[in-house]
Assembly symmetry: C2
Homo-oligomer: 412 residues x 2
Amino acid sequence: MFQRNMGGRRLPAVGASSEPQGGHMKRRAFLRAGLTGAGVAGIAAAPLAAPLAGATTARGLDTLFNPRRPGRDYNGPVRLSSNENPLGIAPSARQAIIDGLDEANRYPGATGELVREALVARLGVKPGQLFFGSGSTEILRIASAAWAAPGGRLIYAEPTYEDVPRYSQPFAYDHVTVPLTSDYAHDIDRMREEVAKSSAPSVIYFCNPNNPTGTLTATGPIMDWIRDEGEQHLFLVDEAYFELADDPGYETFVPLIERHPNLIVARTFSKVYAMAGIRLGYGIAHEATVQRVLPFATRNAPNHVAGVAAVASLADDEFFAKSVKTNDEAKAIMYDALAQLDIEVLPSHTNFVMHRIKGELATYNERMFEAGFNVGRPFPPMTDWSRLSMGLPSDMEKLAEVMTDFRKKDWI
Amino acid sequence: MFQRNMGGRRLPAVGASSEPQGGHMKRRAFLRAGLTGAGVAGIAAAPLAAPLAGATTARGLDTLFNPRRPGRDYNGPVRLSSNENPLGIAPSARQAIIDGLDEANRYPGATGELVREALVARLGVKPGQLFFGSGSTEILRIASAAWAAPGGRLIYAEPTYEDVPRYSQPFAYDHVTVPLTSDYAHDIDRMREEVAKSSAPSVIYFCNPNNPTGTLTATGPIMDWIRDEGEQHLFLVDEAYFELADDPGYETFVPLIERHPNLIVARTFSKVYAMAGIRLGYGIAHEATVQRVLPFATRNAPNHVAGVAAVASLADDEFFAKSVKTNDEAKAIMYDALAQLDIEVLPSHTNFVMHRIKGELATYNERMFEAGFNVGRPFPPMTDWSRLSMGLPSDMEKLAEVMTDFRKKDWI
């Protein structure tokens, strides 16, 4: 009944295949289409830098470029728009990736266990209190999906990071936005009032320090609230910028997970470890909560490359210190420049600062782009502010000159 | 009101921090914990190969090893259990990854657009007809989540790939399994009958070629069904092994997406392109369907490393041909060996074969493990069969010897 020598018998068939039909083809034709070569295939055969040079005319593709890279002739704007770390990944992470490429054909489960071990040692949590995602954005997605329930409210600050509202869109959440206080902190009292309006399982999202403002909310009152509140509501605390914040009123929420299964803390390797392109985030929660959310997670996270880079990065104290110091230096330069220009700025505990602008944000952004800097995007209702990610200190010095020039033109 | 020189004022605080509290700490203490060094941090500072050598005693961690790698002293079993490509990633992909590491600190949106362009040229689809995931497993997750509806049925073969049933678990699906036919094909007639029992939006999952059996279902009758069926039901067609299949009765479903918004085709770079650890899959569907499912996708896919590797791989016809040829050779060796031993085997159109065993599967797997090969796992109800992934041809020759020896012992 079964064809026992299928493999052998099929070999002579390699050359025989049908013609491509309407752009869709079987395997052999699929291969041949590559050989005869549509444009992209030919472009892609060259080293990576070459095809991308051709793509720089498209503003959307500039994300791929780090213009400070030596030997690169790219003259596009400096990317100060996505809170990326301008240093690039740690040299130790780079070497770990290269060393690990021989295993990149294998599913990454074992690599993930090494990351788990490293985080368990670093954070003092149990192995079952961690789950992984493709960036912390996936941790936010997973939580949004897992807590969705009829009548549930999603309560978050305005403005704050957009991913949780975005991911919750397909579900039956009532969205409730609560403006930041006059100090640009989360308005805990008003958020508590909103939660009290419904007993259905709600999600309360805190991004702390907050994106896009960079400001801190004192953690004590939120922790008090969590201790008081019933367990039906989820507290989703986004600590993406945790490693960059340092203030007496700021604490991580991780110690609370043991007693509060209605708490998920999200972290990322994108910021201090500069791995935004490599995608690794993790959630920290009670073991029961991890079990509850895992069915909503995508399997095989982290990817192998992210895993080996993370293990190396977590052990690389030198890079960590350099990353924090470089960011602090860049911010000091920018704060000084803004002070000299008497431009209002929020106290930042992150790798970006939010400062006032004059006139239309779109006009400001366009002028900055022409001056060589890609900054911000609109964060309603704060449309007369610009969110500015920190580049290298040398970038900030150049930007300070541009701002001084803008002032002369009355543009800022 | 605002602290204007925050960045500068914070710099002197670097040395000052509180003690770790119960394993949880602020940034500075977080750093110091690494310096004083829990075990894992110390281990991880060494090159990747070193810590992993220590991990080989744990059977679960063997996934990370490719024992055929020259100069590696690892003596664990050959991985023939997860349908991975034993060649490792394409040399062109390896180089593209290394060249692209300078941009790994940037969010990967631009890289993703390059992959999209390459696939548009290769597949003849429109840019808006593609969406990406962390492996094709995320495409299956996205579809399962997006189509969930009260009363909906999830209809799939038994046995088939487990991810769709797994991802649909949190949702209100009634799971309906339909045994494969006596030819190990999907039983289209019975699946149609099951769909007809409910008008609620159901999902019909086809893995074709099917995993774990490796067998094909003729595509014509399924296409006829899609053309007949109402649009409320989703046809989710998993073409993970598409590039390895070559049979007159087999066609891709991609040409149908234009007229059938209730169809999603899932593909992956894990198999023919050996990128299982790097995580890149894509879905192909009508533009309206892509818009419908995107809210369930994780943002920032593909990751940058997967993106540059994919662009290079799609242009690398030499690797594609080698990958297919190596797999075909390995299968020919295995089919010959199984024929000589008169062991029943299913006709495989993939990079694995399913063959009969004698006695308990657990015992067989343990004996194979001791003989140096990690094979299969249970796929109920086919528990007297073993799913065997293809390694290199040389692996298959050694495995054939082991099987001959097993026969002498009456173990197979």
